[in-house]
């Protein structure tokens, strides 16, 4: 064993810094990409135009402010005489939607008149029309609701405790307190017979990015094995204590061990930087999958060039399957995803069932040609 380590070290030393770079690249890229996406992700906004036909009273201003402060909307305000311009921009697909607050908007809101307060315009490419509309509707409902509350409370006061005096501000702050303090109604979506997967709040789960980068770069890193296996030097191993294939398999094990150490580091770094966890068991299983896959592709590919291309293709195909997953109907298909797709297995914390298959293929590969060639 010691000799195997020494010989592998001899081969690695001339290219050590390059190998280390490639080993650390998945982590580095994951951090870079996740940070970039999380940083700029919030700034991706839906461009919405609002036209105020009538006067901009307190209510209107309040609602527009809330809309402006919304995290996913970028609001542009227009006056009545600019309405045509706004609609024209919408037709040019420069806005996702346009909302026209009609002439009587302010009046109707203050008088709890709910009919036709807003004209909503959208196009065939309004990807976010519905959530924006809902947002605006919520804000309006909220205001109208509060109005109703005041009315009701005052009417109750008059009936039951006419001597008490309460201000609207008081009621308003009570509403706010209750809103924040109470455990209000929530809702949850689950699927029959399946476990719910955990939700990640931020834009991009770093582990997903890491998984795909690792799959691809792991395959890339096995180009050394590819060159060794297909090079001339293999003949010399006929006269050594260990066969060439065995030597390569030992190298695979050593490489996997080193990568697992790096993965452990990755685990702690990603956890502390992004606060996202993943099952250690699934992580180990995933790493083994990547190593076995990389190794098998390396011994099958005719050249490093072919290896890199197959690495890229495998990654793209797995990514495509992952994206299409929500469409997948049927228990069987979903099960297949969870247990066969390496990235999905990692995220759901299960062992990938392709592992034993890959191991079997390697065993077959090792056994083949064990006799003298003819």
């Amino acid at each position: 064993m010691k000799n195997l380590l020494i010989t592998r070290w001899l081969l690695l030393r001339p290219v050590l810094w390059k190998v280390m770079l490639w080993m650390l690249l998945p982590l580095a890229l994951t951090i870079l990409i996740t940070s970039a996406v999380n940083e700029t992700g919030e700034d991706f906004r839906v461009p919405v135009a609002v036209v105020v036909q009538g006067e901009e009273g307190e209510v209107t201003r309040g609602i527009l402010n809330s809309l402006e402060n919304s995290e996913f909307i970028r609001l542009d305000k227009f006056k009545e005489n600019e309405q045509n311009h706004a609609i024209h921009q919408l037709e040019q697909y420069n806005y996702d939607s346009v909302f026209v607050l009609t002439e009587d908007f302010e009046n109707k809101m203050t008088n709890n008149d709910r009919d036709n307060l807003v004209e909503a315009h959208y196009t065939d490419r309004s990807l976010f029309y519905v959530p924006v509309k809902e947002q605006l509707a919520s804000l309006m409902q909220e205001y109208l609701g509060e109005l109703a509350v005041y009315e009701e409370i005052y009417s109750l006061r008059d009936e039951f405790a006419p001597e008490q005096s309460i201000s609207e501000q008081e009621i308003g702050s009570t509403i706010k307190t209750i809103r924040t303090d109470s455990n209000l109604l929530t809702q949850e979506l689950t699927f029959q017979d399946t476990e719910s997967s955990s939700d990640y709040d931020d834009m991009l789960n770093p582990w997903t990015g890491w998984a795909y980068l690792t799959i691809m770069l792991s395959v890339f890193m096995f180009d050394m094995i590819n060159k060794e296996y297909h090079g001339n030097i293999g003949h010399r191993f006929k006269f050594t204590t260990i066969s060439h294939k065995s030597y390569l398999l030992y190298s695979l094990m050593m490489f996997t061990a080193v990568m697992l150490l790096i993965d452990l580091t990755t685990y702690f770094i990603i956890n502390s930087m992004f606060g996202v966890d993943v099952s250690l068991f699934a992580l180990i299983s995933f790493r083994m999958f990547c190593s076995l896959l990389g190794f098998l592709l390396a011994v099958s590919a005719g050249s490093p060039f072919g290896l890199y291309l197959s690495g890229l293709m495998v990654t793209v195909v797995l990514l495509a399957l992952h994206i299409v997953m929500p469409l997948a109907g049927g228990q069987a298909v979903r099960w297949a995803y969870e247990y066969l797709h390496p990235a999905v297995s990692l995220m759901t914390g299960t062992m990938n069932l392709m592992l034993p298959v890959l191991l079997l293929i390697i065993v077959v590969w090792k056994g083949r040609g064990a006799l003298v060639e003819s």
Binding site: N3, L4, I6, T7, L10, L11, P14, V15, N232, I233, H235, R236, F237, K238, F239, T240, T241, I242, Y247, L371, V372, E373, S374
Partner: protein
């Protein structure tokens, strides 16, 4: 005591093409034997069969009266094979290549011993990367690696092909020294002068009478 190497009615064909037909030979320790013949005569094939790298279609090979059969892995320990192609780690230095194969060899050799072997071949650029060596130096290293485990039978496939005269002479001297210590050396080359100078006897393989005649003409 029997012969170190005995080849009995060896027949080798690739598909329907026979490469070696009814080949026989015997050789003893301390001999240097030259194999000559035209291109494609089967010299390399014969060497590879004796080196246990290829299986004969028919016939038998014996080392120390043990037939290859199932013993071939064990018998490999007695064999050193120097291929026609240079089979070295280009990115490693001379001594690193030696150390690498020593670690995987059946024999343990210390670094001074390895360096000694190299200096016998006048290859003292221990720390030079193989990619920077001249053709002659690479051939010497190619040879040196095959000697790490002190084989009794040494098979060389055109070991001096394309190298300078000085290196050629050095290798020749070295091989004579090895034979003197009891190794059996089988050697292929296209250079008749080299064959005549180095080899105790020559075996002709192939069908081209040109080579046969040159042998007999001396």
């Amino acid at each position: 005591m029997g012969h170190l190497l005995k080849v009995d009615a060896l027949y080798k064909s690739y598909g329907k093409e026979p490469v070696l037909e009814d080949f026989n030979m015997q050789a003893d320790r301390g001999e240097i034997i030259g194999l000559v013949g035209e291109n494609g005569a089967g010299k390399s094939t014969l060497l590879r069969i004796i080196a246990t790298l290829n299986r004969p279609t028919d016939g038998e090979v014996y080392i120390d009266e043990q037939s290859y059969g199932k013993n071939y892995k064990k018998l490999r320990r007695k064999i050193g094979y120097v291929p026609q192609e240079i089979e070295l780690w280009e990115e490693l230095s001379v001594i690193e290549n030696m150390r690498f194969f020593e670690k995987l060899s059946h024999e343990n050799r210390s670094v001074p011993e390895l360096k000694n072997l190299l200096s016998e071949l006048h290859l003292e650029k221990y720390d030079t990367k193989v990619s920077r060596l001249s053709g002659g130096m690479k051939r010497k290293l190619n040879l040196a690696i095959s000697l790490i485990h002190e084989p009794e039978l040494l098979l060389l496939d055109e070991p001096t092909s394309g190298i300078d005269l000085k290196s050629r002479i050095e290798i020749g001297k070295f091989l004579k020294g090895l034979a003197g210590k009891g190794a059996l050396i089988i050697y292929t080359s296209h250079d008749m002068t080299e064959i005549r100078e180095l080899c105790d006897r020559t075996i002709f393989i192939g069908k081209d009478p040109f080579y046969k005649n040159i042998l007999t003409d001396g």
